[in-house]
Amino acid sequence: MRVNLNQWKTSVAILFVASICVAQSPTSFITTDIRRAGEKLACLCGACKNTVGTCQMLGCHYAAPAREKIAEMQKAGLDDEKVAAFFVKREGLKAFAVPPAEGFNALSWIMPPLALVMGLIGIAWWIRRSQKPVLANQLPDGSAERVRAELDKEMAKFE
């Protein structure tokens, strides 16, 4: 009985191994050149946010054939730009991993630093506004210095 069960388990495991066999060797298309060209292109499988060059799913229905295509084009002597152009022609602009810095899509790159600059301007404005000497103007002569000295003395206790 034990032998039969073991045989059965082995058969199941063999069947399982057979079911996970990859038809074509996926590692043939993981080379430095393919990865470099693939890093410009988005993996459009819908399950990851990687590029064709960095997608780690060996059987990925998008990245694996894309890598194969890149290999084919590189063999034909096409450079990375032409490879990318092929995919853009086939898939549209979404083939790029990042938005192209032209037209409306340039905003994707412009807005974050612009927001930072706007924030800096906002802080500069706020600092100028809040540094107006409200207290000093309303105190008798010399009192502001006296108060400030007193504050410095107090603060020294905490630092």
Partner: protein, 671 residues
């Protein structure tokens, strides 16, 4: 059972509506009995939502496949713990889970503040805001995405023999606790928002609500941090490629409120200590809350494509309306109350702790904006140009790495600048040694052959921040040790206990530094995908990896097959790893169970990806340097956060340069 569950939800919704109305009318017309009954309704709603949740969990545990939700997210073969997680594994159940956590938070808030006189005026409004939010979710769960829908053919209930089960990828231990922590974080941010709105409506600009909500915000922030890190840990250990952050829209959605909450936790100190930035804090609290709702919207609406998202549904429209009404009302309220939110003090110098908080806020929000912009840009671009584009991980890395490094720099600079103003001499004293040390450290790294620019800068900044924080502890501990005649460790503990917020905060910063070391390690990852026969060896970094054997078997949930890999460094056997492939019986889906040899300096990570037709094992092998620092950093961050929650031994009040004409007296505050 499904009828009782449904009834509980409808009753909870009705009582929730009553609680909102009774709170508002009771506060408006000064009717104490209405206020009391509104609070009792809060407890009743909790009982009803808890009952509905318990019924759903019971149905899942007892394999009641007549309920559609149970059939879709559970099956008989699943382990008990994973059956329990099916409660939040689908759209309807997770909405119920949201409602349960929110009703629990609301009950806790009402219960813990029932005898606090300072909240008597604003409590009805706090209750109304909390319950209004809860009513929204109860409406969704009771009428739109009902978890107790039964499977039926015609009018006859038709139970199925077995369910479809939870996604195998989710059957991993961190996935048991990742969603609850994330939800505790998401939902918890409703509480500070409710207090903020309560103070605005009742025109109480005082610091009382700030003290209470800071504690809530800190606890919630810790939950959110834990949730995010558990998710990262899950992705690292389960997905098979060692990534812990993929810039997926739903991942980003969890990070956005965490960033604004971090910003709030810093800027709220300005309000506590100096009475400044009251408007800004209102904006931050509100933004955090709405980003939580927005994140939920992103996850459930299908507006962006994500592997984490629930199935596309009509929920998006409800969220849009809720967000529009909420943001509109909050904006109006803040603008209307501007006269009550004036600063009590003025900024005395640009070179001051106050300014460093401003820059910290700016950088955090810039990062938040960049992530939000990148997440939404595909939708915006398609709406404007009509053409789809992709914004993948390289965009987020390119935009956020410089921002993150600058933030790391501020983490070291901010704490060393004095409140009010710092003199040139003080700055020189504080920064000279850490800066020189960091420059020397970076030079050493370059001379050792590390030429990755960001990595060198990041390690240098980590050194700089560690030195500044270390010097703070060193100076304070040494002084206490000398004065009280104790050793340095006792001195450090006493120092921390005297001012838990300050030194706890430093420890949180240290946690961030340790995590940055882990992030930076990714610049030196090594990966190799190979096809090897059993008995063969291949090289990866300093390791020789030999496929020693293959084994297979099965249990009632899945069939498995693993490769036995011996990892040697030199002649020493450092580990025997067993990466595994599984095929699940019910769903038929196949998953990899990676094998990891964890060490502080680097992880060796193996993924059994499949077999070739000529019986070779396909192995994806990786070396991830320093990745363990991310998990260690999280624990440091958590310990620091917990220390911040401990009351300080000594309470201090900071001197303020008050603005004439602001009526209220500043109250004594901690630190």
């Amino acid at each position: 059972m499904e009828n009782i569950g449904g009834l509980c939800l409808i009753l909870a919704f009705c009582l929730g509506v009553y609680s909102v109305l009774a709170s508002v009318i009771g506060a408006w017309k000064q009717r104490p009995f209405l206020l009391v009954s509104a609070q009792r309704a809060v407890y009743s709603v909790w009982v009803l939502v808890a009952t509905a949740s318990a019924l759903l969990v019971y149905a899942i545990m007892t394999d009641d496949f007549s309920i559609q939700y149970v059939w879709a997210h559970s099956n008989k073969a699943m382990a008990t713990i994973y059956k329990f997680t099916a409660w939040w594994g689908g759209q309807e159940g997770s909405l119920l889970f949201w409602s349960f956590i929110l009703s629990s938070y609301t009950a806790v808030v009402v219960f813990t503040t029932r005898k606090k006189h300072e909240y008597r005026a604003m409590m009805p409004w706090i209750t109304a805001v909390l319950m209004f939010t809860l009513v929204f979710f109860l409406m969704l769960v009771a009428f739109v995405e009902h978890p107790f829908r039964i499977l039926a053919i015609g009018r006859a209930a038709t139970p199925m023999d077995d369910g479809r089960g939870l996604d195998p990828l989710l059957q991993y231990w961190t996935m048991v606790i990742h969603p609850p922590f994330l939800y505790l974080g998401y939902v918890g941010f409703v509480v500070p928002f409710a207090f903020a709105m309560g103070s605005l409506i009742t025109k109480q600009p005082g610091d009382g609500w700030i003290h209470t909500t800071r504690r809530w915000a800190l606890i919630t922030w810790a939950f959110q941090s834990t949730g995010i890190l558990l998710g990262a840990g899950w992705a690292y250990a389960v997905l098979g490629w060692g990534g812990y952050w993929g810039w997926d829209p739903v991942e980003n959605a969890s990070l956005l409120p965490w960033i604004t909450a971090t910003s709030f936790l810093h800027s709220v100190m300005m309000q506590e200590k100096k009475g400044m930035m009251k408007v800004w804090n209102m904006v931050l609290v509100s933004t955090t809350f709405f980003l939580c709702i927005f994140g939920t919207f992103l996850t459930r609406s299908g507006i962006v494509s994500s592997v984490h998202a629930f199935a596309q549904s009509s929920l998006g429209n409800y969220f849009v309306v809720f967000l529009a009404v909420g943001i509109g009302a909050t904006t109006w309220l803040i603008l209307n109350r501007l006269p009550y939110l004036k600063s009590e003090t003025q900024l005395e110098s640009v070179v001051s702790r106050e300014s460093s908080f401003l820059f910290n806020n700016l950088i955090l929000l810039a990062s938040c904006f960049a992530i939000l912009w990148g997440t939404l840009f595909p939708v915006i671009s398609e709406a404007v140009t009509g053409e789809k584009i992709t914004v993948d991980a390289p965009y987020f890395n390119r935009v956020n790495i410089p921002i993150g490094l600058f933030l790391l720099f501020l983490t070291g600079v901010g704490p060393l600048i004095a409140w009010r103003r710092s003199s040139g001499d003080a700055l020189k004293r504080a920064f000279l040694m850490p800066t020189v040390g960091a420059v020397i450290f970076m030079s050493v790294l370059v001379s050792l052959g590390i030429h990755h620019v960001y990595a060198v800068i990041s390690f240098g900044l980590c050194f700089f921040v560690t030195a500044t924080i270390g010097s703070e502890f060193w100076k304070g501990s040494r002084s206490i040790a000398a004065k009280d005649n104790v050793n340095l460790l006792r001195g450090a503990i006493e120092l921390t206990h005297r001012n838990t917020r300050r030194y706890g905060g430093y420890i949180v910063h240290m946690g961030i530094v340790v995590m940055f070391i882990g992030f930076t390690g990714s610049a030196f990852n090594i990966d190799r995908t190979v096809e090897v026969k059993v008995g063969s060896t291949f090289k990866l970094g300093r390791y020789d990896l030999k496929v020693a054997d293959m084994k297979g078997g099965e249990n009632e949930n899945y069939v498995w097959n693993h490769a036995i890999i011996e990892a040697r460094s030199g002649n020493e056997l450092v580990a025997t790893l067993k990466p595994e492939l599984r095929k699940y019986a019910v769903s038929g889906s196949q998953t990899s169970n990676v094998a990891i040899r964890r060490a502080l300096n680097e992880d060796l990570y193996l993924n059994f990806a499949g077999m070739t037709a000529d019986s070779k094992v396909i192995l994806q092998s990786y070396v991830f340097p320093l990745v363990s620092f991310i998990w260690v950093g999280y624990w440091v961050l958590l310990i620091g956060t917990l220390i911040c929650l401990v009351p300080s031994k000594i309470k201090l009040q900071y001197a303020k340069m008050e603005v004439v004409g602001i009526a209220r007296q500043p109250q004594p505050v901690e630190n």
